[in-house]
Amino acid sequence: MSERHQSPAPVKARVAAIEQALEERGFPVAESIKEFTTLAEEKWIPENGARVVARAWTDQAFKQRLLENGRAAVAELDLAMPVHHRHLVVLENTPTLHNVIVCTQCSCTAFSIIGLPPDWYKDFEYRARVVRQSRTVLREMGLDLAPHIDIKVWDTTADTRYMVLPVQPPHTVGWSEQELAKLVSKESMIGVARL
């Protein structure tokens, strides 16, 4: 029973403890935190994926390359993925097909492309439910898909990574790549929103 469990030290104290321990052993802790902060705030951002989507909407040949080999195609836009993400699978939505991404066992994502995962993506509710109750969960999250739209759920169970290629809103045909990229949200590339 819980009352027979020990209470942990506050989590901030635990983080500080291991920080100090590693620092004392010569690990570049401060530099790593600084570097990671830059990556998290400036590099691993959904604007990357948005550029990929906008390019795919405006360049059919690029879109074909993207669907065939996502990792190679995003490199054309100077976007990198960690070495252990050996494969980027781009999932094209259509008027009758909707793709949505999850990682049921942990919280894997193509974070260098679509941005680090938001809090709800890492929560147990999303991880547990979206594979089994996809339409219901999407509806609860504000995406009420018409019955004729089929759903594909992608569980990130290996180091292959996924991103959703949303359907281009019809009224945006002819817009510039830069303008289009501004439309594309992280949510739409995870697949919990359509644009």
């Binding site: 819980s2 942990p8 935190i33 050996r86 066992q105 504000g142 292959t160």
Partner: protein, 204 residues
């Protein structure tokens, strides 16, 4: 391992607490904890499979009570202790209290000795295997039948790689299941795709 981390299809959870543009971090310590484990992976203290499995080895009550970054911190710290980088005593002295880590690492296993190369369109069954160590087969596909969509580049076999056992690279297959087959009469109709290591699969 059949533990609480394997959440796919579990019932009893409520609404996703969804907001548009939801934050990635809620506090500075979350970012620092994340940075530290990334540092440890870069330094080769442990690999990503060891890291994922360390989180899975958390005491189930702690796993469910902790948020994402506290789980990350716990798995990372446990590996630093197991690998001899720091001691638990030092961590607890510095933290001024109990520093929960994880249950001990058990034995891993090697890639399946005989593996089948599948072509797109092949019907495959996920072997009815119960793996007490690390495994990337979610329980909801165990024993289930699906269709191969494509082959991905090979990755180290996680059931070995998380345990310091020699891990050969092997392909994963994008396998398409029907939610109605995974949870008959108790799922929204959909295709569910998983990336399944070759060692987990057999021909139908």
């Amino acid at each position: 391992m059949d533990s609480v981390h394997d959440l796919g299809g579990k019932q009893g959870f409520g609404l996703v607490r969804f907001t548009q543009g939801a934050p990635v971090f809620h506090d500075d310590w979350e970012l620092r904890a994340n940075a530290l484990y990334v540092l440890a992976v870069r330094r080769g203290i442990f690999n990503m499979d060891e890291y994922r499995h360390a989180i899975e080895r958390m005491e189930p009550r702690h796993y469910l009570a902790a948020g994402y970054y506290e789980r990350s911190l716990t798995g990372f710290a446990a590996l630093c202790v197991e690998k001899g980088v720091v001691t638990r005593e030092e961590l607890e002295a510095r933290a001024g209290g109990f520093f929960p880590l994880t249950l001990p690492l058990g034995p891993g296993r090697t890639n399946a000795p005989a593996r089948v190369r599948f072509q797109p369109g092949a019907r495959v069954r996920v072997k009815e295997e119960y793996v007490s160590g690390h495994v990337r087969m979610p329980a909801y596909i165990r024993g289930k039948t699906g269709v191969v969509v494509r082959e991905s580049p090979p990755y180290p076999f996680p059931d070995a790689h998380a345990h310091g056992v020699k891990a050969e690279n092997e392909p994963t297959y994008d396998v398409r299941f029907r939610a109605e087959d995974l949870w008959p009469n108790a799922a929204d109709p959909a295709d569910v795709h998983a990336a399944v290591f070759q060692s987990y699969l057999e021909s139908v």
